[in-house]
């Protein structure tokens, strides 16, 4: 599972960086979105990947004093991802507004507001 996960993040991030460096503003937006998806997956992965593991230690288990941390999922990265998604969504929406404004003003979707001289 880790290999597939890591490859997924790598492909998303790589495509994101490539798009980010393109001259069209919509490509830049897509690049930023792909990069933030990759980052969100990366944060999630930093909590170790586990299937069917509860994030909270029950009181009875805690009282017995025999806690095996590897049997539990880490809830902190999930909370971090949630925050990062919300913030990323808001700032991407804002970027979209600026993108449309520039498109409307200059009539081109080049990030510099004018077509490069041929």
């Amino acid at each position: 599972m880790e290999i597939v996960y890591a490859l997924g993040i790598g492909i998303l991030a790589g495509s994101g960086v490539w798009l980010l460096l393109r001259p069209r503003s919509f490509q830049v937006l897509m690049g930023l979105m792909l990069l933030s998806y990759a980052t969100n997956l990366f944060i999630f992965g930093m909590g170790r990947l586990a299937q069917q593991a509860p994030p909270i230690i029950e009181a009875a288990v805690a009282a017995s004093g025999e806690i095996d941390p590897s049997r539990y999922a880490d809830p902190v990265p999930q909370a971090l991802v949630l925050t990062a998604i919300v913030i990323g969504f808001a700032t991407t929406a804002l970027f979209l507004v600026v993108l449309l404004a520039l498109r409307g003003q200059t009539g081109t979707d080049h990030v510099d507001g004018r077509e490069p001289d041929a």
Binding site: L32, M46, T92, G104, Q105, D112
Partner: protein, 547 residues
């Protein structure tokens, strides 16, 4: 009373949050109320900042022993719950933020805040983000506060519209979104390796990491550092900065004076907290020198005053980074003094630029507020645009001898920026260089110190040449210029800030003494770590009563 004073830490964050939110419910037409709300909020922040300055000094050990205040936001103790931490450095930065914000806000009231966009709300959220970034003791919370201040700054930067502003605004947003992504990657790596995001907890755990984790932790710290350096405007990540600052309207650019300082603060804070861990590498020194060199060339080449001031922001970043890179403990106090002076100077100069721009009649094409263009940002949405200059001529009391005032203020700003006596720009640079030369170098070679001295002095000389040239063109040239009507409310913050820097020079000894103790407590991170991790939350939680 003491219990209430403890809540002072959260005040600089809560107050602007409430004020900014309340403003959405106040009708546009009730402008006086909005302005009053905004001013009250910033004044309250300033008061809280000054109170924090007093409480973190040794004057009040009964509240916070060792001058470090911890405020658990949710009532949970430190490594689990999120804490705000105030020490002397944080108190200084909060006070500085509030001072700069107050000046910029008073300045903006005359005409800049007129059209419909939520200027005052955005401004409040920006100060909230700044204060939060200075006060937080948690790495992820630092990210959240960075985003708050950046999101507000996007709106503020785009204010006024116009093709050029939107174009540079898009670059600004794209660069900072990329920076935020890097920030998140760094934070995630650090969490994955150290298992905590609490800064005090990290300081203890980072040193104890074994080789495989340690390499990844290093990578995480480096990526985080890149994110901070983007905010601070370090070369080669700073090409967006001069243009963006020059094109933003004057009060916004003035408030942005604190933005680069947040990045520097983060480098300083995490660098000193993980001192044993050797986070601050020699790279900072060379990056600082490169920033200084490129910014100096930029200053000499800049044609427009605002652009020149934008480059001067980079000059101060370069000097600060290079000085930090020397890793001499005794340098921290002069670094802080220089940081304060340069923030106040840039703020004053940007406000002044907004006024000198109005003297120009002949060459509107370089003017950052191109009136004809203001409509176009609304075109795609079919909204009729309000004009920035609506009611330009009717607000406030005009002051006499406008040109004389502008000239005097310009000279003062130049003295501050270049570092000539009697204003504290000189004291700051002198303290920096004298301390660097006095202290035996341990990490870098002695040559590095001499290189830094030469670079600082040369950049000062170049700045003087560039500013004299611009000043002569502004005030002595024969080209047709109008004498602008200056309003009292615009001139007052500029005069007040210049007087404040004068006060800093006159009271340099106590100020420097306070910064010295701030620097000492920075370099003894044990006290910080102890204060945060051993903080007992007084309220008992129900879980504690279970068997």
């Amino acid at each position: 009373m003491n219990a209430l004073l403890r809540h002072l830490v959260v005040l600089p964050i809560i107050v602007p949050l409430l004020a900014g939110t309340l403003m959405f419910f106040v009708a546009e037409a009730r402008r006086t109320l909005r302005v009053a709300l905004a001013l009250a909020s910033v004044v309250a922040q300033l008061a809280a900042g000054i109170a924090l300055l007093y409480l973190t000094s040794d004057a009040a050990p009964y509240i916070w022993p060792e001058g470090i205040g911890v405020y658990p936001i949710g009532g949970w103790p430190a490594p689990f719950g999120i804490v705000l931490v105030v020490d002397r450095l944080a108190a200084v930065m909060v006070t500085l933020t509030a001072t700069v914000a107050l000046a910029a806000l008073v300045y903006s009231v005359t005409r800049w805040d007129r059209p419909g966009q939520p200027f005052h709300s955005q401004f409040q959220f920006m100060t909230m983000g700044l204060c939060g970034a200075f006060l937080t003791g948690d790495l992820f919370n630092l990210f959240v506060f960075f985003e708050v201040l950046l999101a507000a700054s996007y709106g503020l930067m785009l204010r006024g519209g116009g093709t050029e502003r939107v174009r540079l605004g898009m670059h600004y947003v794209a660069v900072n979104l990329t920076g935020s992504i890097l920030f998140l990657v760094g934070v995630a790596l650090i969490y994955g390796m150290a298992g905590t995001l609490n800064m005090a907890d990290l300081a203890g755990r980072a040193g104890a990491l074994a080789p495989p984790e340690r390499a990844l932790f290093d990578a995480g710290a480096a990526i985080l550092g890149i994110a901070f350096l983007i905010k601070a405007g370090s070369w080669p990540l700073n090409f967006w900065l001069p243009g963006t600052y020059a094109i933003a309207i004057a009060p916004v650019a003035a408030a942005f004076a604190m933005m680069t300082k947040v990045g520097l603060y983060a480098v300083l804070r995490l660098g000193t907290l993980m001192e044993e861990y050797e986070t601050l590498g020699a790279a900072l020194f060379y990056l600082g020198l490169a920033t200084l060199a490129t910014a100096t060339v930029g200053m000499l080449g800049a044609k427009h005053v605002a652009r020149l001031v934008g480059y001067s922001v980079l000059v101060s970043t370069g000097i600060l980074l290079a000085a930090l890179g020397l890793r001499i403990e005794a340098l921290t106090a002069p670094i802080l003094f220089y940081l304060i002076v340069s923030a106040l100077t840039t703020c004053t100069f940007f406000m002044l630029t907004g006024m000198t721009d109005r003297t120009r009649q002949t060459n509107p094409s370089v003017s950052p507020d191109d009136d004809a263009d203001t409509t176009s940002v609304y075109v795609p949405y079919g909204i009729k645009a309000p004009s920035v200059h609506a009611g330009d001529e009717d607000a406030g009391i005009a002051i006499p001898a406008a040109m004389a005032f502008l000239g005097m203020a310009f000279v003062c700003c130049v003295l501050l920026l270049v570092g000539l006596p009697p204003l504290p720009g000189f004291l700051a640079k002198f303290a920096l260089l004298a301390t660097a030369l006095d202290t035996p170098v341990t990490v870098m070679t002695p040559t590095a110190v001499w290189v830094l001295c030469a670079a600082v002095l040369i950049s000062g000389l170049a700045g003087l040449i560039a500013l004299s040239r611009v000043g002569m063109r502004l005030f002595w040239s024969l080209a047709a210029r109008t004498t602008p009507r200056l309003r009292l409310l615009e001139a007052a913050p500029i005069a007040a800030l210049i007087l404040l820097t004068g006060g800093l020079a006159a009271l340099a000894e106590p100020v420097y003494g306070y910064l010295g103790s701030a620097a000492r407590s920075l370099h003894e991170p044990d006290a910080y770590v102890r204060a945060v991790l051993s903080y007992e939350t007084s309220r008992e939680r129900p879980e504690d009563h279970r068997p």
